[in-house]
Symmetry: C2
Subunit: 411 residues, 2 copies
């Protein structure tokens, strides 16, 4: 075992290199299948939406000028000349002192330029309307192009598709669209101590947790995990599996190697792969410092810590933006919002690195409280008990009980 | 059109009735397929995890007492009697002044009770170790049952399965588990003005956006959407489709009916269904006040506003906890964390109802800023531009620019 000291790369510099990795290809998909995917084309509205002026309230379509000066004490009186049916082009034409019953969403008839809310009127008889409030032109209506105007670019390639984007595509009649494929993430667990999940580990051995945890994280990040099982800490074998994974996937994770010896093995394997280049070895993040990123044949090859909680923190904080980028997403950094919480105990920290501390999040009196979970990073239990990670940035030297901390929820 | 006034039900009371709806059934699934699902059995550890005492650092396994008093100026000297191989039961037995090389994750050999970090030692020669720091028993190790002790209940039915829970199940050798089925959510769009997505809407009509948006939201909430297409505002037809949807699904959403007329129709249909009961009609939420919840044959039947942004707010804030509950989740309320943001303009609000205002979220100088998006709730654009919803609670009468607001991110 050597007392190797490696140079850590600032996290900012790590992310600056994301653009060196190419994006995956695109497929055509029905919008009913495209939610949570990433758009791979620019969408230009080829029609105005909604396409006609609509009422946004139940009431009466009027000419606004006919209501000017109207009040409870001085109502305006209009003729009711009919009713706008939903989904119909109104046959009516609204003259100066005329009105028509209209429901929310109804098409404004020609001649009308506003809607008076039903609550601000009384029907004196079948054909006479009393109006208690003046409306300006456009009141309680949307214009024909108010949602989207024809020829406007409404979504750009790289947009993650949320329910509202799917709805927008439906409004434009785009039932098929181009989306990025899900990047295939190869997952390799290394370690002579690992056994498969369906085996009973003999003393000194444990079941392979990392393959399952990292597969679920890769899927949550928008990837398609492909597992390569357990590889013993043996050069030829690890090299062969890495080659195969690099050929079959878009990104490879080797997890294991929290010990210096295994880390050396991973480095040795990476260095003997063709067209391989170590991009960084060591990041100022705890847990997770010994993380390795290499570029091999244009693909990202990660050496993640073997301790499961360290591997999870590195995956969530460092790897996810790379998965999002190669998956086409234009929004790949700042992928989690932070919540503010009151710290329930003192936390030490060291300047020059970002600390992530597993924490429970409790809500009391309308405020979040962060209750740090202690315990070695080999224990999956500490992650199961955690609701999030407290982030202590590299310029802070420790935080005291009662101070406000920034917490990244993990759900 | 009647000027109907309905009694609104406080939101708290709405959620109090969740338990009246039964949960869906369970299936057996591989843990590789179970991520994001909800556990439907209690999991008891049938072994200690990790199962043996392990090193958490690279270094030397020792008896702690042999290092007592050791310091840089007064090192302890130990014999190196071998090396612990990963995955092996060490054949060594550590005597009082002995030590063995060990890597992170290695099994502590008999006789040893602590690990000295490699950085706090020097190998004087092949068999002599200089130790600069005293360690207490247990230092840099985890106990055989420190992650999970045998017979402990480690997860309960109702737990949402995140990557760490999947990892825990792997550690326990549970490659198959019981999970709740995804609740099937029937989605009906009503409105005479609606046309299918693949049609060009004539004047006065628009494409059906709600079916697509609500399907994506139902899937994001853990449900399985089943769509019933567009139903005209016609009693017999809506009744027939509702009956069919109630028979085939676990929950039904009728969206449409933001106008009083359509709302009346929805109410009429609900009232003529067998074993039907209106649970509430009107909630103190804006947008979304005219929301209806009925229980029909034990299933939840919702009348959602037709305006798409209103329907989205109601689904996210009110319906999702019901979907989670019937989907087996024990954690169904407070399903989103709120972030704190500085409001960039004054916002009016009315006491007695909770307001949700679409907002952009910008990050400046390490703080979130909420930039409200204005516009009628019929415009899907305003949701596409939004990163979240500002929540103004029912006891607040408006918020001024520069004040801190609570924002629910929408991603």
């Amino acid at each position: 075992m050597s007392k190797e000291f490696f140079t850590v790369t600032p996290v900012r510099e790590v992310f600056e290199r994301i653009a060196e990795f190419p994006r995956v290809g695109a497929d055509t998909l029905s919008i009913t299948q495209a939610s949570t995917r990433v758009l791979a084309e620019n969408i230009v509205a080829d029609i105005d939406v909604p396409g006609f002026a609509r009422a946004t309230m139940d009431g009466y379509a009027v000419r606004a000028s006919a209501t000017f000066g109207a009040s409870e004490f001085n109502p305006a009186y209009l003729t009711i000349c009919g009713k706008v049916d939903m989904g119909d082009t109104p046959a009516l034409n609204i003259g100066q002192v005329q009105s028509a019953r209209i429901a929310t969403g109804g098409m404004l008839p020609p001649g009308a330029d506003a809607v008076v809310m039903i609550e601000q009127t009384t029907e004196i008889d079948e054909t006479t309307l009393e109006v208690y409030k003046a409306v300006a032109p456009g009141t309680n209506t949307v214009a024909a192009d108010e949602d989207f105007a024809k020829n406007r670019e409404v979504l750009s390639a790289g947009a993650p598709l949320r329910p509202q984007e799917i709805g927008l595509l439906a409004a434009l009649g785009r039932n098929e669209i181009r989306v990025y494929q899900k990047p295939i993430i190869g997952i390799i667990s290394t370690g002579d101590e690992l056994v498969e999940v369906d085996q009973v580990p003999p003393p000194g051995r444990i079941r392979d947790v990392n393959t399952y945890t990292l597969s679920a994280m890769a899927a949550n990040a928008g990837g398609l995990p492909r597992t390569y099982g357990i590889v013993a800490d043996q050069y030829e074998h690890l090299l062969a599996v890495c080659r195969r994974a690099l050929a079959e996937t878009d990104m490879v994770l080797i997890s294991g190697g929290s010990s210096v010896g295994t880390r050396d093995l991973t480095m040795e394997v990476i260095e003997s792969l063709p067209e391989s280049q170590i991009m960084f070895h060591g990041i100022p993040v705890r847990p997770g410092k010994p993380t390795i990123l290499a570029k091999s044949g244009g693909k990202a090859l990660w050496g993640l810590p073997g301790q499961i909680t360290s591997a999870m923190v590195v995956f969530d904080r460092i790897v996810v933006p790379f998965v999002r980028h190669i998956g086409g997403s234009a929004v790949f950094l700042q992928h989690n919002y932070r919540i503010s919480a009151i710290l329930t105990r003192n936390l030490p920290s060291v300047q020059g690195r970002t600390d992530y501390i597993r924490t429970r999040i409790a809500e009391k009196d309308g405020q979040y409280h962060a209750e740090p979970i202690l315990g070695p990073s080999g224990l999956i239990r500490t992650m199961v008990e955690a609701d999030g990670l407290i982030e202590i940035d590299m310029n802070t030297e420790g935080i005291e009980q009662g101070e406000t901390v920034s917490v990244i929820p993990m759900r």
